[in-house]
C-alpha cells in the first residue's frame, strides 16, 4: 500500500518530489559542516586555526609543519583575507582559534558571551621604530622634508626616538608633515597612498616591507612601555591567540606546541615562513622572528575574565 | 494651388498566414485644388484618403507621381529600380526625407495640418502650444504672445490658455488644434477627420466656427471626412474616393450659396447621389488589379 502511494506521488506530483529533493539537499548542506563541531572529540583531531598571511604568524607555521611527538597538537591552518573575517569565523565555529590584532580583540571578546572566547597567548615581535616609505616613491632619508609621515601620536616613544635620530642624520623633523593614526591603520594608508611614509612599530614595518614598500630607517633599541599609548605588554604584541570553548587539555596542548616552536633554529623557521608567505629568505634574514608566549600574569590582569588559564 | 499628379502609394504587408503581399492604398489619383476653395475628400473609412492627405502634406513619400504646391514639388517619389533604391538609401542614410533640416526651423510650404486625434502636445499648455508653432514660423517674440491670444480668442478658448490638454474636453482640444493651424496664417489648411471624435452638438458648433473662419480669411481648406452630411454642408466641392485601392470615383460640385441650411434640397440630392454611388460599388465589387 505504501509503495503504491509513493509511486503515485513520484509519477503524478513532480512538484512535490522536486520540493522534497531540494529540501533534503539544503538540509544536508547545512548539517554537513556541523560534523566538525561536535564536542568531546578524539585527542588527535586537528585544530583549525585562522591566520592572515604575514610573516608574523611564524610560530603557527612552524607548529603546523613540525612532525613532533605525541604531545603535539596537530593543526589545520586556514588563511583569511582580514582578521575581521577570521574573527567572525571564530564566532560561528568554523575555526577553533584565530590570530586577531590587539585593537580588535576587545570588541570581539565582548560580542561572544556564549560560548565565551578567551585569549590563550600572544605573538610577540620586538618593538623597534621603523620608517617605511611608499613603494612608488624613491627618496632618500634626507629628502623627506615636506612629505607626509604617519605617526602614532605626539607623545609616542617611537616618534621621539625618530626625531632624535633624524636630527642626528641631518633631517629636520619639523619640516615633515605629520598625521596621527593608530598602528593598525598605517600600512593600509600606505597602500591607499594617503600618506607618503609611516613611522611604525617593528611588526608593521616588516609587514609593510613584505608588501613591497621600502624601509628607510630602523632602530630596534627603543624601550617598550615608555609611553601611554602602548603599555609594554601590548607594544610588542602583534596578535592575540583567541580560542573558542575547547576543553582545557586541548588548549594546554595547543599552547605547549606553540611555545615549543621557540626552540627551533632560526634558519629553519625562516625557511618555513618563506615557503608559507612567499617572501624570500634573504629578506627575512634582516628581521627578527616572531615568537609565541603564553598568557603572563601581567596580561592576565589586563584581560581579566577573558584570559584563558589552565585552572578553568 | 495644390496639384497632385498620378499619386500612387503601395505598401508591402504580411498577411495573417505569413505570406507577403502588396497593398495599394492610393492608385493613380490626380487632383487639382484652386486657391481659396473648400474641398472635401470623402470616402469610407480606410480607403486611403488619410494616406493621400499625408502625401499632400509631405509626411509620406508617394510610390509614384508627385505633388506640387504652388509649383514646388513636395517630396520625390520612392525609388522603383534597384539602382535608384541604393542611391536613395545612401542619400538618406542619416536623415529621412520627411525630416526638415537639422537645425533650422523652416516650413517647406505654407501649409498647416490638423490630425485625426488632435496631436496637440500634452506637455504644453494651450498657450504654449500656439506659441510653439508661431516660433517655428519665426514670428518675432514681441508679436508671438499677442497673436497667440488673438487666435485662441478666435476659436473661443480665452480663459483656458494655461490649461493642459489633458484638462480640456475633446471639443476644446480640437479648437486648440484649429487655433494652432490658423495662428501660423498658412495659405492651405489640411484637415484629417477633425470632428470625428466629438459629439454631434459640439461638431455642429465647430463646423459653424470653421466656416466662419474660412470665409473671413479666404484660405484653401482640404478636409478629409467619412461623413457625407459634413462634406455636403461645408465644402465647395466633394471628391469621392472609392474603397481600397483609393481612386477618385467622382467629383461633385456643391453650388449652394452660403449660409446653407442642413436640409437644403440640393444638399439632399447630392447626398443621395453619393449614397447610390456607394451602393453601386458594394453591389458590383470589382477586383482591382494593379
Amino acid at each position: 500500500m505504501g509503495q503504491v502511494m509513493a509511486a503515485w506521488v513520484i509519477v503524478r506530483r513532480p512538484a512535490v518530489v522536486a520540493g522534497l529533493l531540494i529540501t533534503l539537499l539544503v538540509l544536508g548542506g547545512c548539517f554537513r559542516s556541523d560534523s566538525g563541531k561536535s564536542p568531546g572529540t578524539q585527542a588527535t583531531r586537528p585544530l583549525r586555526v585562522a591566520y592572515i598571511g604575514s610573516p608574523m604568524a611564524a610560530p603557527l607555521f612552524v607548529a603546523a609543519a613540525s612532525r613532533g611527538g605525541a604531545d603535539r597538537q596537530p593543526l589545520d591552518l586556514l588563511q583569511f583575507k582580514t582578521s575581521g573575517d577570521a574573527g567572525y569565523a571564530l564566532l560561528w565555529g568554523e575555526v577553533d582559534a584565530a590570530l586577531i590584532e590587539p585593537l580588535k580583540t576587545p570588541n570581539l571578546l565582548q560580542t561572544s558571551k556564549f560560548p565565551p572566547l578567551k585569549v590563550a597567548g600572544t605573538i610577540q615581535f620586538p618593538y623597534g621604530a621603523t620608517l617605511v616609505l611608499r613603494k612608488d616613491l624613491s627618496l632618500r632619508f634626507g629628502e623627506l622634508a615636506g612629505r607626509t609621515v604617519a605617526a602614532e601620536g605626539e607623545d609616542c616613544g617611537l616618534w621621539h626616538q625618530f626625531k632624535t635620530d633624524a636630527r642626528r642624520l641631518g633631517l629636520d623633523p619639523e619640516r615633515i608633515r605629520t598625521v596621527y593614526m593608530p598602528f593598525e591603520d598605517m600600512v593600509p594608508s600606505l597602500e591607499a597612498k594617503t600618506v607618503d611614509a609611516i613611522l611604525t612599530k617593528g611588526s608593521y614595518g616588516v609587514i609593510g616591507e613584505s608588501l613591497g614598500h621600502k624601509i628607510l630607517y630602523q632602530n630596534w633599541d627603543v624601550a617598550a612601555g615608555t609611553d601611554e599609548c602602548c603599555p609594554a605588554i601590548l607594544a610588542q604584541t602583534v596578535y592575540f591567540l583567541v580560542v573558542r570553548r575547547l576543553d582545557d587539555e586541548t588548549v594546554a596542548r595547543l599552547v605547549q606546541t606553540l611555545e615549543a616552536t621557540g626552540q627551533e633554529k632560526l634558519d629553519e623557521v625562516r625557511g618555513i615562513v618563506s615557503k608559507q608567505t612567499g617572501i624570500s629568505e634573504k629578506r627575512l634574514a634582516h628581521f627578527p622572528v616572531a615568537t609565541f608566549s603564553a598568557v603572563t600574569d601581567e596580561l592576565g590582569s589586563l584581560l581579566k575574565d577573558h584570559a584563558w588559564s589552565p585552572r578553568q | 494651388m495644390i496639384e497632385a499628379r498620378r499619386i500612387s502609394k503601395f505598401f508591402s504587408i504580411i498577411h495573417d498566414d505569413g505570406t507577403a503581399g502588396g497593398l495599394t492604398a492610393v492608385l493613380s489619383v490626380s487632383l487639382r485644388i484652386e486657391d481659396g476653395r473648400f474641398v472635401s475628400l470623402l470616402g469610407p473609412t480606410g480607403c486611403g484618403k488619410s494616406t493621400f492627405l499625408e502625401i499632400l502634406a509631405g509626411l509620406q513619400a508617394p510610390s509614384d507621381g508627385e505633388v506640387l504646391i504652388d509649383g514646388q514639388r513636395v517630396l520625390e517619389p520612392l525609388p522603383s529600380t534597384r539602382k535608384e533604391m541604393e542611391d536613395y538609401r545612401r542619400r538618406y542614410r542619416f536623415l529621412s526625407p520627411i525630416a526638415n533640416s537639422l537645425f533650422r526651423d523652416r516650413p517647406k510650404h505654407d501649409i498647416a495640418m490638423i490630425f485625426q486625434d488632435y496631436a496637440v502636445f500634452p506637455w504644453m499648455t494651450a498657450l504654449q502650444n500656439v506659441l510653439f508653432c508661431l516660433k517655428l514660423r519665426a514670428v518675432s517674440r514681441a508679436d508671438r504672445e499677442s497673436m497667440a491670444r488673438k487666435y485662441l480668442h478666435m476659436v473661443g478658448l480665452t480663459g483656458s490658455e494655461n490649461k493642459y490638454p489633458s484638462q480640456m474636453s475633446g471639443g476644446m482640444r480640437q479648437r486648440l488644434a484649429l487655433a494652432r493651424a490658423l495662428s501660423v496664417e498658412p495659405k492651405i489648411i489640411l484637415m484629417d477627420e477633425p470632428f470625428a471624435a466629438v459629439d454631434a452638438h459640439t461638431r455642429e458648433g465647430l463646423q459653424a466656427d470653421l466656416l466662419e473662419l474660412w470665409e473671413s480669411t479666404g484660405k484653401t481648406i482640404v478636409l478629409v471626412t467619412h461623413d457625407v452630411d459634413e462634406a455636403a454642408y461645408l465644402s465647395d466641392e466633394i471628391v469621392v474616393f472609392s474603397p481600397l485601392p483609393g481612386t477618385v470615383r467622382n467629383r461633385l460640385k456643391v453650388e449652394v450659396p452660403r449660409p446653407r441650411r442642413r436640409n437644403h434640397p440640393t444638399l439632399q440630392a447630392i447626398k443621395e447621389r453619393i449614397q447610390s454611388i456607394y451602393r453601386y460599388d458594394s453591389d458590383h465589387a470589382a477586383e482591382y488589379i494593379i
Partner: protein, 286 residues
C-alpha cells in the same frame, strides 16, 4: 518688488508670484510633505511601533544574543556618538561628493547618447551594439580591472559609480525617445520643425517618464557601486565605515551605517519623485 512679496498675507493666493525665499520655502514644505507623508502615518505606526518594541525587548531579555543584535536604543546612542565624536558628517559628505561626481558624469554622457540613439537610426545602428555587449557585465565585476587601471582613489571610485549609473539611464532614455508617438512628430514636422527642435521639444518631453525612471534606477545602482568602491579603496565614506565596523566587530556601528545608507538612498529617490512631479505636471489630468 521685495516688499510687495513680503507684505502679502499668508495663504491667500500666494501661488503665483512668490519669489525668492518664499518660493524656496514653499517648495521645501511641499517636498517634505510628499516625501514623509507616506512614511509618517498612523497606519504605518501601528505596524512599526510593535516591531520596534519586539526588537528592543528580545536582545535585552536574552532570547537573542545582545552583543550580536543591537537594540534600537543602542543604535540611536551609537548614532549620536558617531555624529559628535567620530566625524560621521565628514564621512557622509565624502560619500555624497563621490556619488554626485560619478552620477553627474553618467547623466551628462548617458542622456545625450540615449537621445541621439533613439532619434536616429543611423546613429543607433552604429552605437547600440557596443553598449549591448558591454552592458551585461555586472558592475562589481569591473572592480579588479578598474583598480589595475586607475589605482585606488577618487578616479577609481568615480568611475565605478559612473558605470553603475550609466546603463540604466542610457537604455531607458533610448527606449523612451524611440517610442515617441509619431503623431506628435508628424504634427511638429508639418509646421516646419527642424530635427533639433523636434528633439528639444517633442522627443525629450514625451520620453520624460522613462528618463526619470532610468535616473531613479541609476541612483540605486550608483549607490551600490558607491559602497563597493569605498570598500575597496579610500579611507573615508560610509562604505569605508561599514567595512571598518565589521573589521573591529562593532555591530552597532554597522547597523548605523546601513540605516544611514538606506536613508540616503530614500532621500535621493524622493528628490527624483518630486522633480518628476514638477516636470510632468501635465499627467495629472489623466
Amino acid at each position: 518688488m521685495e516688499s510687495e512679496t513680503m507684505s502679502r498675507p499668508n495663504g491667500n493666493n500666494s501661488d503665483y508670484g512668490a519669489k525668492g525665499w518664499n518660493l524656496i520655502y514653499r517648495e521645501l514644505k511641499a517636498f517634505l510633505k510628499g516625501a514623509l507623508g507616506s512614511v509618517i502615518s498612523v497606519e504605518f505606526a501601528t505596524v512599526l511601533v510593535p516591531l520596534l518594541i519586539i526588537w528592543e525587548v528580545l536582545p535585552r531579555s536574552g532570547v537573542v544574543p545582545e552583543t550580536l543584535v543591537p537594540t534600537p536604543s543602542k543604535i540611536v546612542a551609537t548614532f549620536w556618538q558617531m555624529l559628535i565624536e567620530h566625524d560621521l558628517p565628514h564621512h557622509i559628505g565624502a560619500s555624497l561628493v563621490r556619488f554626485f561626481l560619478g552620477f553627474s558624469i553618467a547623466l551628462l554622457t548617458a542622456f545625450p547618447i540615449g537621445v541621439l540613439m533613439g532619434w536616429n537610426v543611423f546613429v543607433r545602428k552604429h552605437c547600440l551594439p557596443m553598449f549591448q555587449i558591454l552592458a551585461p557585465v555586472p558592475p562589481p565585476a569591473w572592480v579588479p580591472i578598474t583598480i589595475v587601471a586607475l589605482g585606488v582613489g577618487l578616479p577609481m571610485q568615480v568611475f565605478l559609480i559612473f558605470l553603475g549609473a550609466f546603463y540604466p539611464i542610457l537604455f531607458n532614455t533610448y527606449q523612451g525617445v524611440k517610442d515617441t508617438d509619431p503623431r506628435y512628430l508628424a504634427s511638429a514636422r508639418v509646421f516646419g520643425a527642424s530635427e533639433f527642435t523636434l528633439i528639444r521639444s517633442v522627443y525629450v518631453w514625451h520620453a520624460l517618464g522613462l528618463v526619470i525612471m532610468g535616473i531613479k534606477i541609476g541612483i540605486v545602482l550608483g549607490l551600490v557601486m558607491l559602497i563597493i568602491s569605498e570598500m575597496y579603496g579610500g579611507r573615508s565614506g560610509i562604505g569605508y565605515l561599514l567595512v571598518e565596523s565589521k573589521e573591529y566587530f562593532n555591530i552597532d556601528r554597522m547597523v548605523v551605517c546601513m540605516i544611514v545608507l538606506g536613508a540616503l538612498g530614500w532621500f535621493l529617490i524622493e528628490i527624483m519623485k518630486y522633480v518628476e512631479l514638477k516636470l510632468a505636471i501635465w499627467r495629472i489630468g489623466r
